[in-house]
Symmetry: D2
Subunit: 489 residues, 4 copies
C-alpha cells in the first residue's frame, strides 16, 4: 500500500519459560510491523509483576539490562501503532493495575465500538481514566464485577464489550488469550517446550522456534495455569453458532499480516497470491510487465503475473533506511515524500505497458505521485490493478483509517479516480472475488470497509446491523486527517 | 548533610500567563533540588489539557518543541524525588485523569498516612490503581464524591486525607493550591503581572521575576479562576484554631529548602544561621576553625562561626559534576563514594582544631568517611556539631528516611556514635534550641523525627496523637534500606 | 547475499546549489546501503569550509540544525562501511585538512594497493597519519608536490596511486570528481538546474530530482569551477587506450549497486536480471518454484524464473527492523542470527522442488542455516543457483572480503560445498556467462575474485599483472575474521 | 568570577597501573572544571595504543564498556574547554598519530604564541593539518626531526616552541610530563603504588588516593619508563637560571585551579584567602557583611572577612543544575541569564551595607546584573572589591579571553566602571598586593593580563619582551566575541 494505514497493535504472551522477557522481546520484534509507536512488556515473577514500557521501536525500548530486570517465567507484551496527537507514554500497553483482586495486566489489539458508552457508565459510577486504551476499560469492569472468581468476572465483563478485541491478560495466577465473539482480530496459539504462547501473527512463533498449534477461536478464551491449559467459550452459545457468525477482518489478509504468518488459521501468502490471481481473471489487460508497490503488494502482484502469464518485475525499489527524524528538504524537490521511499527502475519501465498491482487505495495522494514517477521513467501505459475492492467506508474495529470524506473511493467514481491518478486504466477486485481469493464467506469475514455491511452487532440476544444513525454517530470518533484530497482535474 | 535524604517532591502552578509552560519549566528548575527522578507539566489550553512527563532532570525532560506543544495560559508542574525500586514513569506527576467531572490534574508534595486504608476502601469499591501516588487516591475520591460542585467535592475528599499534603490541582475551570490542616509541607503564593503562582519554595518565584505574596495557610485552599482569587478554609474550624495546632515540618528549615527561599512565610537563611548560633551557645568548644559540610550546612556553620568568633573556612570542596551514570572504580580505591563528591582542603585543616558543622546525621556511614578524610588531611582535633537534635524516629509525612533501626541516633548512645565516627567530641542541638533558633513553638512545628511526638491526628472531631500501635503499624510502610550500620568499634 | 560483505563507501558532491548540504544529505541517504558506519559532509561557503562528521546512519548523524550550519553552495559527502576494529570517528570522511595550498577535503571510494609503500615513504619524509584512510595519503602527497598549480599537483599525485579510487575533492576553488585509470569503482555525473553532481550511484540523483548525464570515465577528472565544467584525462594516454584496459569491478553489478542505479554508464537491473537468465540457461533444473534470497538476489531470481518459465515466488521474508543494538537471546534458540533476519513462507515451500537463487557465497555459514530453514518448512528438493562464478580470491580494491582461507569456494570443491550446505544440487554461473550477462568483456571488467586475474598494474609505462609474490604480500593486509568455516560433514 | 572565562584544558597521565583507563577517567573527572567541551583517553597496551575521544563531559564520553576496551597499564587523558565556533571532535585530545617512529600521543595544556610561524613553516615543507591543536604541531616537528633517538628529537622540537605548554606525551616506550621553560601552565607529579602520575592539578591525585610528590619544574621533562623515572632539563641552562626567570600564570591561583589543589608546588586555598586579606588591608570599607560571588570567590571573600572582621555571609545562592540544553525563556524575563545561575538571599542583604568580593571583572555585563539583583534585594550600599588587579590585557598563553577592546578594564576608567556597574564603590587589588598575597615575585609569575608585561620571550639565546608590534599581531589571533560592552551611562 503506497499510503500506509496502521493496525491497532500486536500482542504476545508466553507462560512457562524462564526467559519469558527475552522471548517476548523477540516476539514483539517479529510483530514490529503492527506498531512502531511504543512497546511494553509485563512479566510475572512468581506472583509479583514487573513492567517496562517505552516510546519507540522494540529494539530501542528494551536493553539487555532492562530485560534482565523483567524476571519471571510468564510475560505479556504489546506493540502500539503510531498516530499523531495521542502519542503518549501513558497509552503504551500492557496496562498494569492494582485493584481489589491484586494485580492484572492487559494488552489489547482491536477497537471497541461501545467505548463511549462503557466509559460514560464507568465514569458515572466513579471510575477515573488515565489512558485512552480499551484495556483500561476492561480492568475497570473487572474491578467492579461482583463475581468472586476471576474467570467468572472476566466472562461477565467480556460480555459487556462490543467491537474488536484480541487480548492477552495476565494476573498472579492466569495467563489468558482471547478473541471477541466475532473474531475480528487474529490471535494464534503456539508451544515452545512446555511453554504456551499467544501472538497476533505466527511470525512471532517462528522467530523463537516455537510450534504453531492453532488459532484461538472467536469467542474463545484460552487459559494457561501452572499445570494445565483450558479452553472456554465465554460467549454462551454453541461453537457451531459462532462459526456461522464471524467477522474476521479481511484486511489482515489483504494488507496487515506478514505473508509468512498464519492468521485465523490461514496462511497469508497463498491468500494474497490468490487475490492477484482472481484480480487477473477479473480484470485482464494486455501488458508487458507486472510490478508491485513494495513491500505489501508483492504476493498479489506475483499472483497476478502467474495467472496472466505476464512477466513479474521489480519496477520500483523501496528504501528501508527511513528513520523517524528524517529531515525534509525545501519545497524545491517535487514529490519528495514519495521519492525518499520509492525509486523507479527505468530499465523495467521504459517503453513498456505496465500493470501496477497495489493492495488498496486510501486517499490516492501517494499513488498519484508514484504514477507520475513511473510515467517519467518512460512507461508507455500504466494499468493500475487493486487487489481488493473499492474502499468506501471507514473501519471502527481497530484500523486507523481516514473518515469517509477522505476516502477517495467513497467520494469519487471509478472514472474520476482513474483521471485523478492519471492512469490508463484502473480496476478493483470485486467483493466476490475477494472472498473467493481468501476462500471464505461473508459469514466468516468482515468486509465492511468495502461493502458497508458492518459486522452484525453482538448484544447477547440479537445480532443486528448498526443503524445508519449509529454509523454516523460513530464517525464522530474517527480521527480526521488534515491533508485534503486533491481534486481530480 | 553528608548522607542525602530526599524530600517528596516540589510543586508549581501558574494561572493567567500565555507562557505558562515555559514559566513552569523555570519554576521546576528552581525546585530541582526537591526531586531529580522525574518531572512533569500539565497545561490547560482553554478547557483542554496537554501533558508531558518524563524521567530525569527538568532540563532533560523538556525540549523547546515540547514546551511549545504545551499550550495554554495555565499550568501545574511537579518534580519527583528518586528512590530505588519504584522508579517508574507511571509514578511521574502531575497525574492527569478523565472522569465524570471532565478532567483533573493533581500534583502532590507530602505523604498520606492513611494510604492503605483509603486505597483498600477504594479498591473494595472497584477502583483500580495504576500508580503508587497519593494524587491518584485523591482523584478516585473526587470521582466517587456525590457532591455536584467540584469545590464541594474537593472539600469533602480532603476531609478524608490524613497526613501531609501540599497540592496544586487544575481542572477545566480552577487552578488550586492547598495545604493540609497541619500545614506539614510548605506552599507559597506569588504574583507575576496578572498571573498567580503556587510553589513549594519561593526560589521558583525569583527565577521568573514574580513577587512573593504570602504562604498558603495550613488548611487553606486558594482558588484561582478567570476573574478572581478566592481563599477558603476547607477545614471547618476557625483560623485561630488552626494556627494553634500546626505541624509544619521543621526539617524544611534545617535541610530541605534552599536558603534563598521562603517556606511557611519565613526566610530559610536566617533560621538556618540561627541554628548554628544557638548550637554555638549550647555547645561551645575551643577550636581554630569552623567548617561546613557543603552545601547544606553552610548557613549554620556561618552562624556557628559568627557566634563563636571562630573563623569560618571552606575546609571541604564539593564537586558538582556528578552524573547519573558515573562509573565506579574497582574496590582498590578506598572510600571512593565519598571522594567523588568531597575533597579536603589541606591548608585549612592541617594542624588545626576543627569544628565540623553538619545539619544532621542519618546512618553515620558517610560522616565516618569524611571524618577520616579530614583526619588524614592533618586535623589535630575534630569536633562535630550537629545543627539539629538527635534524629531518632522515622518520618511518615513525606521524607524518605530509613526505618528506625537504621537511624544511628535511635540505636546508639551519644558516646557510641562519637566513638563510631571517631571524632574528638560530638554535640547535637537541643529540641528547645531548635525551636528557639527558628523562632517557633511546638504548636507550630512537627518535631517528630527528633521528639517522637508525631503530629496530632486530624479526624474532623478530635485531634489526638497516634497510638504507639499505629506508629508501629505505619512503620511497615517504611522502605528498609539494605546497607547496615557499621557497629562502632 | 545471505552473508553481507560491505563495500568501501559511497561518495557524493554537488557544486552550485544554495541547498548544497541538504541535497548532499539526501544523496548520502540514497547511498546508505554502501556504508552505515559513519557519514560526513564538508561544505564550502565562499572560500571557507564547514564540516560535520559522525558515527552511524545519515539520518542520525545530521540534524536540521547541523545542516543549516553547513552553509555554502558546494559540498562533498561520504558514507563509510562498518568493520569491527577500525570503527573510529577519526576515520570518518571526507578528510578536511589545512596545508600550504589552503584547505582541501577528500572523500574516497575504493582501496589503494600501494598504501604501505606510499605511507612508508611519506612517513620517512616526516608525514604523520591520524587516520587509516587513503584520502589522507592523497592529501599528504598534495602537500608535498612541488607543482604550483593545484590541478597540476593533483595530476602528479594521482600518478602515484595504485589501486581503486573514485574520489570527490573540494578546495576553495574546485569541486572535482575522478576515477582511477582502470575505473575500478563507479562514479557518475549529474545535473540539477545549474548545479553539477558526482555520485557513486545514480539513485542519489533520482532522490533529488537531478538528471543523469554520464559516467565519469576511467582516468578522467571532471573539474567544476564557478563558470565552467572541464574534463581532463590525467592519465596521459589517449582515451581509446584506456577504454581498452579497464577493470571495472563486476561485483557492483552482481551485488553492491542498487538495481535502480546506473554504474559505469550501465543500468544495474537488466544486468542483474541477465545474470539470472544466463544462469538458467547454463544450469537448468526441473523445479516448481524459483525464490530469491532477498533483497539482493531478487532481480537475478526474476531473470532465472523468466528464462526457465518456472514460477517466481517470495519464499523467504526479510525483516528490515534490525537495529544496531539488537539483543541476542540465549543459546537456546538455534540458528538465531538467521531467524532475526529471514523467515520462510511455508505455503510457497511445502512439498515443492525449490530453486534458490543467491548472488554469491562467501563462507557459506548463513546459507547453510537458510537451507536448513527452507528444508524445515517442507521443501522437497533444494537446488541452489549462484548468479556469479565461484568466489575464490579476495579483493584488494575496496571490498571487505575474508582472506582466501575463509572463502569456501577457495578451499572446497563444488561437491564438498554442496554437501556442506546440504542442498540437492549446487551450480554457479560461469565467468563467460557472467561477462555475457553484463554485456562486457575481460578488457572492461575486473573479475579477479572469480578468476584470480588481478587487474593489470598501471605504472605509467607498462601494464603488467601483479606477481604471485606481490599478491601474497598484499594478503597480509587483509583482515582475518574469526569465525571458522564449519567443516562439511 | 561572574563571567566565566575558561582555561585551555586539563591533562592527566599514569604509567604502571593495570587500571590505567579507569584511573585516568577519575583524574579527568577531578579536572572537569578545566574543560567541558570534549574528553579523551589514549592507553598503551604493551606497545599498542587504544584511543577514545568524545564531545561533552567526562561522565558522558566514557562508559564502562569503553573503559574496559581501553586496555593497558599506561594512559594519558585530556579535557578541553568549550568555545563557540571551533567545537569539533577533531580538536579533541589527546592527538594520536602514526609516523616514522611508530605512534605517539600528545595532550596539551596552554597556548603556543608562535603557532602561525611554526604551522606556516611546516605547511611550506608539506605538512597537513587536520586540527587546530598545538599538539599536532609538536607531532609534525617530531616527524621531521632528524634525531634518531626519540628523546633527543623531543628536546630538539620543544626548543622550537614558544609560549605556554604543559604536556603529557606517550609512545610505545615512554610516558612523559613536561612544562615549558617559563612554566606558564602547571603540572604536578604524583605516585600511586608503583605507578607515577602527571596532572594539571592535584585534586586528580586525591580522587584516586595517590600521593603528591612535587611540581614538574619549568623547563623540566620527567620521563617514565618501565624500570625508572628520569628528570631532564631539556632547556639547556642551569636550573638556578630557570628558577630566576619563570612566568607561571598567576591566574591559576586567582581563579582557575580548585582551592583544594596544589599548582606550582603551592596550595591554592591559602593563596586565594590571602588575596582577600591583602585586599581588605588595601581597600578597607565600613560595611555590615562580606559576600562572595560563588563559587570561585569564596576563599578570597572569607579572607577579606577574616581580615576586616566584617561577618562573612552567603548572600547569593548558585544553582548547579544548569545543563547544556537549557531553554531560554522569552524576552519577558529580564536579566534571565543571570537568574538561572544566581539568586540573592534577601535576609542577608536587606538593609545592609554589602561588600561583594569577586576575583576579577572581564566585560562587566554579568556583574552589572548581579549588582542590580543585590540592590533589588534591599542592599543599602554595595561595595565591590576585586581580588585581583584591573584586567587590562588579553592573554596569549592559554586563557580564552576577549580581545583588548572587550575588556572593560582596558577601555574604561575606574570611575566609569563604577558608574557602569552602579556600585557605591569599586576597588581592585594592586599588582604588588597580588604578588604579596601569593608570596611570589615578578620573576616567578606572569602578570601580563594586569601589567602588560608579557613574559620574556625564550628563543635559545636571548630573553626579550615581545615588541608592541608582535603583541598587536598576535591580537589578530584572539577570538572576538560579539556581545558589546554596554556603555556606562
Amino acid at each position: 500500500m503506497s499510503e500506509p494505514i496502521r493496525e491497532a497493535c500486536g500482542v504476545f504472551a508466553i507462560a512457562g519459560n524462564e526467559e519469558a522477557s527475552h522471548l517476548t522481546y523477540l516476539g514483539l520484534y517479529a510483530l514490529q510491523h503492527r506498531g512502531q509507536e511504543s512497546a511494553g512488556i509485563v512479566t510475572a515473577e512468581g506472583e509479583h509483576p514487573h513492567a517496562h514500557l517505552g516510546m519507540g521501536l522494540v529494539a530501542d525500548v528494551f536493553s539487555e539490562e532492562v530485560l534482565n530486570q523483567l524476571k519471571g517465567d510468564r510475560a505479556i507484551g504489546h506493540v502500539r501503532y503510531s498516530t499523531t496527537g495521542s502519542s503518549n507514554i501513558l497509552n503504551a500497553q500492557p496496562i498494569l493495575c492494582e485493584y481489589r483482586r491484586g494485580w492484572v495486566a492487559v494488552a489489547h489489539n482491536g477497537n471497541l465500538i461501545n467505548t463511549l458508552e462503557l466509559r460514560g457508565k464507568l465514569e458515572s459510577e466513579g471510575s477515573i481514566f488515565r489512558t485512552a486504551t480499551d484495556s483500561e476499560i476492561l480492568i475497570h469492569l473487572l474491578a467492579r464485577s461482583p463475581q468472586l472468581d476471576f474467570l467468572d468476572a472476566l466472562e461477565e465483563c467480556l460480555a459487556k464489550l462490543r467491537g474488536a478485541f484480541s487480548m492477552v491478560i495476565m494476573n498472579d495466577q492466569y495467563t489468558i488469550g482471547l478473541r471477541d465473539p466475532l473474531g475480528i482480530r487474529p490471535l494464534s496459539l503456539g508451544k515452545l517446550g512446555d511453554a504456551y504462547i499467544f501472538c497476533s501473527e505466527t511470525s512471532a512463533l517462528d522467530i523463537i522456534g516455537a510450534e504453531y498449534l492453532r488459532t484461538v477461536e472467536p469467542g474463545e478464551m484460552v487459559i494457561i495455569t501452572k499445570n494445565r491449559i483450558e479452553s472456554r467459550f465465554y460467549y454462551k452459545q454453541d461453537i457451531a453458532d459462532i462459526r456461522r457468525k464471524q467477522a474476521q477482518c479481511i484486511f489482515e489478509l489483504v494488507y496487515f499480516a506478514r505473508p509468512d504468518s498464519y492468521v485465523y488459521g490461514r496462511l497469508v501468502q497463498p491468500a494474497r497470491e490468490n487475490l492477484g490471481r482472481v484480480l487477473a481473471r477479473e480484470c485482464p489487460t494486455e501488458a508487458d510487465v507486472v510490478i508491485p508497490i513494495p513491500d505489501s503488494s508483492i504476493s498479489s502482484a506475483i499472483g497476478y503475473a502467474l495467472e496472466s502469464k505476464i512477466p513479474y518485475q521489480q519496477g520500483i525499489i523501496r528504501s528501508h533506511y527511513i528513520g523517524r527524524t528524517f529531515i525534509e528538504p525545501s519545497q524545491s524537490i517535487r514529490d519528495f515524500g514519495c521519492k525518499i521511499k520509492y525509486n523507479p527502475v527505468r530499465s523495467v519501465l521504459e517503453g513498456k505497458r505496465i500493470i501496477v498491482v497495489d493492495d488498496s487505495i486510501v486517499r490516492g495522494t501517494t499513488m498519484r505521485k508514484i504514477v507520475k514517477m513511473i510515467r517519467k521513467a518512460g512507461a508507455k501505459e500504466i494499468h493500475l490493478r487493486i487487489a481488493s475492492p473499492v474502499w468506501m467506508e471507514p473501519c471502527y474495529y481497530g484500523i486507523d483509517t481516514p473518515e469517509r470524506g477522505r476516502l477517495i473511493g467513497a467520494t469519487h467514481t471509478l472514472e474520476e479516480i482513474q483521471k485523478h491518478l492519471r492512469v490508463d486504466s484502473l480496476r478493483y477486485l470485486s467483493i466476490e472475488g475477494l472472498l473467493q481469493a481468501v476462500g471464505g464467506t461473508e459469514e466468516e469475514f468482515c468486509t465492511a470497509c468495502f461493502s458497508g455491511k458492518y459486522p452484525i452487532r453482538w448484544s447477547g440476544q440479537a445480532l443486528e446491523p448498526l443503524s445508519k444513525k449509529e454509523v454516523e454517530a460513530e464517525k464522530l470518533l474517527v480521527h480526521v486527517e488534515e491533508e485534503p484530497v486533491e481534486n481530480p482535474t
